[in-house]
């Protein structure tokens, strides 16, 4: 490429997206007058086939060796145009994009100002591309193994999709069994399928699949590497039960004298200190809860050990650190439910029979603590139940977003209440959002079943009776915004439809995997519409509620999509790695080693013999911290060289 730069400049109208605000003719004319520009054109859609063809022809006809496209954000179409260059035999690094849409025409009202800014952006790109150097992309083998974090429906679905194509999956779940929140649910809307009936076969498939290594009661501790070649350390927590010896007979759980609140039953029921969360658990191997086991607390008991015929109890067991190597990672870490205690006016944890939606799921579940009978705390049958929507959702004090499933499960609850207890149901809603397939029909059906719908946000749940009728009841006070009046309704049970929120450790997990979060706290997808399963870190994908609240069909769809993306990577067999790395000019390096100290990837090592530092390009991610730090200016940050950035600064201030 050593010859003089010959630059082609292409200004995109993007329909009227750019041309409506920026005078594209003027920008083109301006570009024409700049040094080394051989040709400058504008076209209505540069990214279209004919647009790309223009560039290809010009490269051929005018011998262009550098190209600038002024259009949308490089995150949108940089790859498209790099491919055009490659096809025309020009190194793709000899390309620069000027973002005159997202960062110019869309954000500027004044046309003259927008045009002036566009000129500056194009000028900067032209000056910069002048100094671009061809770089060689390297391809390295892609490890076909996949790591999936989270054993809820999203993780299960993705694991089965990938494993069914006979590729190895490590499925890591931090609780003793897979199943996630879905296995806690009773029925699923709008079809009223039994949640366990549709999920347990999939769980069993995961447990016995030859291509899935299920690592339950385990957590990821460390992640290193990059797309195609991740190294992940996983902590397998001590179960104190020998997985190979245990035959799941359950005697240990019978004999254990110590009872604790069951997480699976959302605190509505009890479990033992040695436990499997529920009878269909996968794997069906109990764990000893060290924090509640009397032996660990006081040094005596060991009843489980005494009665275990398989001799599977092992109090000496320790956590195990396992290292796995994978090519891609799917995060399916799910959600947590909002704790409504701070909304004190709803009386949660102060008044009996005020329950969250998840607690009610357990109450109404045939396998739950009451055997599916809807009863008050004193065991009596309710005559009326209020369901309060949007508790912690659509509320600026807690979460601004809509949790997307509450309207529908509230309708499902109404149906189950009618069916099982024949009690009156009062739904307090802000808006009914029944947007999915068969959802509106389900709403109509429930309206026909005689459910009372009251439009208004509840102000208070109280036990202060104002009339004989209210005595001994929970009184729900709300403004009915359709009637325009305050109404008081005495009920026996109040169900709070609590928000779905990010897991409490979502920040730590995001940092561990080096991905971003959106303003609502959930993991951020690469593009909200066109890339909803990828993240800003290549090779790491998201599925299910860890990316935002969603229902089961959407979760399953996203999990399958993430699996498809992983399988596409696996089928190519190799992956391109960063070419824009740092390189040290050993003639200039003084061997001070400042760079090796600040490199976050330990990619720089010191050669004792030559007294110089060297960059391991396989480890370097090209951040440029060392380039900026080197006191001798001996380090070149490829594709972000000081020369290129200085030229860009000059260009942008024209």
């Amino acid at each position: 490429m050593g010859s003089e730069p010959r630059i082609g400049v292409y200004v995109c109208h993007c329909g009227s997206n750019i041309a409506g605000t920026v005078d594209v003719e003027e920008v083109t004319e301006f570009a024409r007058g700049l040094d080394a520009v051989v040709i400058a054109r504008n076209y209505v859609f540069m990214c279209s086939d004919p647009g790309q063809e223009v560039i290809r022809n010009d490269i051929r006809d005018f011998g262009l060796n550098r190209v600038v496209v002024a259009a949308c954000s490089p995150t949108m179409h940089e790859l498209t145009f790099c491919r055009v260059l490659e096809e025309a035999g020009v190194n793709p690094y000899l390309f620069e994009m000027a973002n005159i849409r997202e960062q110019c025409s869309w954000v500027t009202e004044d046309k003259q100002m927008a045009t002036e800014k566009a000129r500056a952006l194009v000028g900067a790109a032209i000056k910069r591309v002048y100094y671009h150097q061809p770089l060689e992309t390297r391809r390295v083998p892609f490890n076909p193994n996949t790591l999936i974090i989270g054993g809820g429906i999203a993780g299960i679905q993705a694991a089965l999709e990938i494993a069914n194509s006979e590729h190895k999956v490590y499925l890591v779940e931090r609780s003793p069994s897979i199943g996630g929140h879905m296995i806690q649910l009773d029925k699923t809307f709008p079809t009223l399928d039994c949640s366990a009936c549709i999920l347990t076969p999939k769980m069993a498939d995961v447990g016995s699949h030859p291509y899935i290594e299920l690592m339950s009661y385990s957590e990821v501790e460390e992640v290193a590497g990059y797309i195609g070649n991740f190294k992940v350390k996983i902590r397998e927590k001590a179960r104190y039960v020998d997985v190979d010896k245990c035959n799941s007979c359950g005697v240990c759980q019978e004999k254990c004298p110590w009872k604790v609140d069951s997480e699976f039953d959302a605190g509505m029921g009890k479990r033992k200190a040695i436990y499997t969360p529920f009878p269909q658990a996968v794997p069906n191997i109990p764990v000893i809860d060290r924090e509640h086991c009397v032996y660990f607390l006081k040094g005596t008991c060991r009843a489980c050990e005494e009665f275990c015929e398989a001799k599977a109890i092992d109090f000496e067991q320790e956590d195990k650190l396992v290292e796995v190597e994978v090519g891609s990672i799917i995060l399916a870490t799910g959600f947590d439910v909002f704790d409504p205690t701070p909304i004190y006016e709803y009386g949660y944890k102060q008044l009996d029979n005020v329950v969250t939606s998840l607690e009610f799921e357990r109450l109404v579940n045939a396998a739950g603590p009451t055997g599916g009978n809807i009863v008050l705390k004193d065991g009596s049958t309710p005559q009326s139940i209020a369901i309060i929507h949007c508790v912690g959702s659509r509320d600026k004090n807690y979460h601004e977003y809509c949790s997307r499933v509450c309207c529908m499960y509230a309708l499902k609850f109404a149906h189950l209440i009618k069916e099982k207890a024949n009690a009156d149901v009062y739904q307090y809603y802000i808006d009914m959002r029944c947007f999915g397939k068969g959802y509106e029909e389900f709403y109509e059906r429930l309206a026909d079943e005689g459910v009372n719908f009251i439009r208004g946000k509840v102000g208070e749940v109280t036990n202060q009776a104002l009339s004989e009728e209210e005595k001994g009841k929970l009184v729900v006070v709300a403004e009915d915004t359709l009637l325009g009046s305050i109404i008081r309704v005495p009920v026996d049970i109040v169900i709070l439809c609590v928000a779905m929120e990010p897991q409490p450790d979502v920040g730590a997990v995001a940092r561990l995997f080096n991905i971003s979060r959106s303003a609502d706290g959930f993991f951020l997808e690469k593009h909200p519409k066109l890339d909803p399963v990828a993240t800003t870190t290549d090779g790491i994908f998201v599925a299910g509620c860890c990316q935002g609240p969603k229902d089961i069909p959407d979760t399953v769809a996203q999990a399958s999509a993430a699996a498809a993306r992983v399988l596409a990577l696996i089928s190519t067999g190799e992956v391109e790695v960063e070419a824009a790395t740092a390189v040290i000019d050993e003639r200039i390096c003084s061997g001070c080693q400042l760079c090796s100290v600040i490199c976050p990837y330990t990619a720089i090592t010191f050669d004792e013999k030559e007294r110089v530092c060297r960059v391991n390009e396989a480890l370097c991610k090209g951040c440029g911290a060392c380039v900026a730090a080197c006191p001798s200016m001996a380090i070149i940050g490829k594709h972000f060289t000081t020369e290129q950035i200085m030229a860009e600064i000059e260009g942008i201030l024209i």
Binding site: C104, K117, S516, C623, G624, T642, I649
Partner: protein, 135 residues
């Protein structure tokens, strides 16, 4: 004519550049005075880049990175903080108001924060007036 300053904004590729893109996608409006330059990481921004910008005609400089703890390259933004502290001393010696150079954090989802920072610094620089007779 009123003073329309030029402000160079160094945006990290992973958070701030995407935050600025998001402001565009959401069609938020902000002054055209800010001219973005994409860098891999705020830790790539050498103090000389900032001085070069001021010398070449910029009246202010923004350096925006990922939030502390969220850096795509683990801790590049902490390096940017330290570098900025040293640069501030240099600016003081040169007699340049330190408000002309601002380091801040914009995540990929904070289009609105990007806009408010741009509004802020543009107003501030207009108040300070052009940068004269320093270099």
């Amino acid at each position: 004519m009123s003073f329309e300053p030029k402000i160079v904004a160094f945006l990290c590729e992973w958070c701030s550049y995407r935050g600025a893109d998001l402001a565009g996608t959401a069609r938020m409006k902000y002054p055209a005075n800010v001219r973005p330059i994409k860098v891999k990481c705020s830790s790539r921004v050498e103090p000389t880049f900032i001085l070069k910008a001021l010398q070449t005609g910029a009246s202010g400089v923004l350096v925006l990175g990922c939030h502390p703890g969220d850096c795509h390259y683990t801790n590049g933004n902490y390096k940017a903080i330290r570098r900025m502290a040293i640069l501030n001393k240099l600016l003081e010696q040169l007699g340049i108001e330190k408000e002309r150079v601002r380091l801040d954090w914009v995540s990929a989802s904070e289009g609105n924060k990007f806009v408010s920072i741009v509004n802020d610094i543009t107003a501030k620089i207009k108040e300070l007036g052009p940068l004269t007779k320093v270099f």
